[in-house]
Symmetry: D2
Subunit: 356 residues, 4 copies
């Protein structure tokens, strides 16, 4: 039997050393039934079957459930719309008039959670004057303990909208529950999917059917390939405005809350046309590490960083240990600006330009 | 300063070597404000502060956000209702008349997804006659690819109810979306939270407010402590009928889909009074490994196992490679029965007893 | 171009989407120079090159260093002598007259480190009377802290030899340094490579050139494939008497010292003809978990277990928290015996048979 | 009972909920025997014992082997000489006249393995002219497969010495076997301990007894705390000239060979006075990612980077896919120089200064 086109949609099926001729035949028969060409190559120890014309349907068959099959190796990964294979130039996503993507660094900053009007006004003033282009602040918080502060809800979104009006800073806020999407999207300039929800496919699909740009944080347990597939859910449902956000993965190391996967930046920029930003604050879990990680992210080519800043970290209701006080954030913005300049990268400004 | 009661609710706050007297004072002041006693002990290199009477409020302060604090170490873990500290005897949970927990092994079996009436009838007949006490079969499936089969929805639940009537087997089914809880709970004898949703706190809290028993799978990215905290969400919201299900964690090993954490069985049985079962099928991802892992689980003291069984694995729409065909399941049931007997553990039967 | 034999030694080279014709040519040219057949298949997005007749030399080329190459996927794994592909029946290894492998469970027990003559006599008496077939006890200890007890050295080996004479129990001892191989091998019935040394290729190669059987512990950081490759080093150097020992891998879970990879038992038994045993004591790090893990190992099909037993764990110089006291070991032996009997597996006895 | 000084050498011993008064007494008695003060605090659920004056001896007791003890928590970490607690200013290590440490970035570059005189001359010329201060090139290689190229041995070291003379570049080379230390140290300006040998305590102790500076790579499986303890072995044996090298850790992510732990840079710089450099090449395993990771390392505050450079990567015998060709290295040096300048950090030069 001859193999004429081991193309990029192919599937390689490796049989066990003990596989019988009947078992090989059963695989070949199923391939034929599905319209794929099967090319059988007997080796010294194992038989290998190349499947040509292996589209989605062929690839999703439970090949490893067939007797005598050791494993099935697809040639291509499972994602498409997010891939540079289908779009080679960088996508630029706009959130409240602020661009993300391309040869540009965009800084998001603010408290982890909205706690009060006073706290948000103080935070917005500080991050605006230091040069941030977008504000963060969440109204709904996912907490590992049921006894912890869970956020202000709609009241928090109202505060954020008021702050936006006062300081000209658009904002991003997290959505946890599909039933809150309309509410959050009616206030926020960008909605965020948190790390714990990256594989909440119900939430992803519904976010694909609404118009706000979506910031998709990487699950701390997710491979880059799974993260791309999650973005695919949103794009597949109709929303192409997706920003990826690396925020650390879970490893055996306990000196940091998570291990920031800095390599994900160049990997994603090679694989995908979507913008990718970094959240060093949630990754580190400790304020003292944040400036080094933020600088590293920009130097690695991230399209932006999202930094926890709190007017009084030691009074914060959520994640105080990782928040920078305003003066440290301001000093970090200087460093980021100098690195961007050294590398020939532009810093994005808030909608009305730099504050006077 | 004297320390009179470094009790079990205490918090130990370790200062950095460079911490100043003012920084120590700021911590002590906050402790006093919160009603805790602070005991300051200067060491050769670092000062250590013991906080006595450190309840929930004290423990949730962002201590590591205070200047000069290196780390804060609580003496006790964050969970309560699930702990043997509050209930020393084993909890027995009933699902459709089938008991889980205590000195007893309960076997759940069936296909990963409901595909058709024929498939479920064939599956139920096979697992019933081999001795399983409960049926599995999902109507809603979380899939990593948006292009994969997503389940039959309510139609699937109707098939399961018909099968229950015909074969006398109660069933467990997964719920993915808080909006589907009422629907799934109106059909199923037990609702299941999948691994990807273990930290979906919205879902957990709502499951705590409905009456069906809940099977809570461990997140493949979750520590045992986080898993206990997730169970705490359900119990805290009012539902004490929780069964824990170990199903493997993500590690660097790629020979199996996940690494079954067999040690979690004795760890959980020491820590908690709740029943704990094992899903070897999803952990392994490959049929050939399932019998060994199921036997190991029972020998390690699991209160049950949940096994994927499909009348024709190579035609399965979901997870075929891990499903056992009926004859292999039957042989596994024999082995499980012999191990249970050797260890003096009872096998649970379906509501009407063994089939004739 | 036609592909006639995508055999089991093949290599699949996937080009990037942007790869040029020249880059494809450079790969094809190198393949030809090395005597392999190259089959080029242009896909919709990427070109894929199948290399036929790709022996060791072809597979070790730095393909991913070639411009335009995305990745190179070998069809077969890197090991041979240890594989069931070359020997389908179980290998039985003998250590001091005690068999390991086949349908048989062999129990090794004793203290982690030799501390004194009295301690070893007490330990040997206890494990012998409970039914263990081999004694453990190390004279050289690898310690993470340079300030910890490092072992008795040759004096420890002399004690072990005396104990063997007195109780008729052969013993296994660890070797850390290639310069100590002759010394340890002159006393011990089997030499052990510890987890931290699994990738010490110098040590492995030299153990392959001496006659004692070798117990090769899995690195707690090593994939099963790497562990098999490490065994390949010993077999490749001329010593086919290798026993594999699973002892847990490092994961994010901190409730146990390491996560026992129970799935490795059926995986290794499928892949390799070598005996595989389990060390639950070092994996768990805590005595209370050891019996459950030992029972699980036997139920999963392990060819044996190695258990830390100490006459007075709270006085142990090394790893006391994981050692069983004699009465708990004796009770565990009963449980193991009953599980083995339930599964139709034989228990190995010490050279002279059961003690009277 | 009163506790007067919960100092930094203290140990907190937490009893189980079920611990008896006798079990508490046994712990207290042992503490007294060892000369420590025991302070018993009964809590609502558990008793907690604080041990004051808990030196090395007390901390190394197997507390968790005592009946009724749940866990023992030391207040301080296990390392000393490497800690900023004992030396607050940065240590500067000199290798062949090239400084590492302080406010300075030092670049090491060259091939992974010495293959031939021609290869090393071409490599040295390229890295010297681009501005590297030290050359790398190994004569002994640890290989996962016993069938791979193992290095040129002493012949390789001779080539390196000749290159040093010709180009004025000192060099670092790996040592694998304690028996090769004298040989490697007689040629090299700095000896390197590879990732797989980080826990080879025999090797570490002997390197502590010879005069060359030691570059200690982090085990890809090692926590930062274990890495510090390994450095402690070298310092403890008498050699204070140690450079730490982060090179990625093993995680579940497979898009890169290892996950570069960029957070380790600020963590180590806080914890220790020793210089810390980064090897992005071995971490990534792919050339395309190396520049981004090298830039990130410098921006994060690393004291240097070590880069694989090969005159013809596609002909390399070891690790070709990760080596940069000379022109890409030269461009990377420009970027590193600009980032260093932006952050006010000096670039180290080779002994004779920049080449003309």
């Amino acid at each position: 039997m001859e193999m004429s086109a081991l193309g990029d949609e192919s599937l390689i099926i490796v049989m066990t050393a003990a596989a019988t001729a009947d078992e090989v035949d059963a695989v070949v028969r199923r391939l034929s039934d599905l319209g794929a060409e099967a090319h059988v190559s007997p080796g010294q120890v194992r038989t290998v079957i190349g499947a040509i014309g292996a589209g989605e349907l062929v690839r999703q068959q439970p090949w490893e459930a067939f007797p005598g099959v050791e494993r099935a190796v697809p040639i291509l990964g499972p994602f498409r719309s997010v891939s540079r294979d289908v779009r080679s130039e960088d996508t630029v996503v706009e959130a409240g008039g602020v661009p993300f993507g391309g040869n540009r660094v965009t800084v998001i900053a603010g408290p982890c959670a909205v706690e009060s009007r006073e706290q948000m006004f103080a935070a917005a003033e500080a991050v605006r004057s230091a040069g941030a282009a977008l504000l963060r602040g969440d109204a709904f918080k996912p907490r590992t303990s049921p006894y912890s502060f869970q956020g202000l809800g709609e009241k928090g979104l109202e505060i954020l909208a008021e702050v936006r009006k006062e300081f000209g800073l658009p904002f991003v806020a997290e959505v946890l529950d599909p039933r809150d999407i309309d509410l959050v999207a009616s206030y926020a300039d960008m909605v965020r999917v948190g790390s714990r929800n990256m594989s909440n496919f119900t939430l992803l699909a519904e976010l694909g059917r609404q118009p706000r740009p979506v910031m998709l944080k990487r699950g701390y347990n997710a491979t880059i390939e799974e993260w791309m597939s999650a973005a695919e859910y949103v794009l597949g449902a109709g929303n192409a405005e997706v920003i990826l956000c690396e925020r650390g993965i879970r490893t055996f190391e306990t000196a940091t809350r998570n291990t920031l996967d800095i390599s994900a930046i160049p990997v994603v920029r090679q694989l995908s046309h979507l913008p990718v930003v970094v959240d060093p604050s949630h990754s580190a879990g400790r304020r003292a590490l944040v400036p080094a990680l933020a600088r590293a992210s920009v130097a690695a080519g991230a399209n932006g960083v999202m930094i926890d800043v709190h007017p009084a970290p030691e009074a914060a209701k959520v994640d105080g240990p990782q928040a920078l006080p305003p003066e440290e954030f301001s000093s970090l913005m200087d460093q980021i600006g100098r690195i961007a300049q050294a590398l020939g990268v532009e810093m994005a400004e808030p909608p009305g330009g730099q504050s006077p």
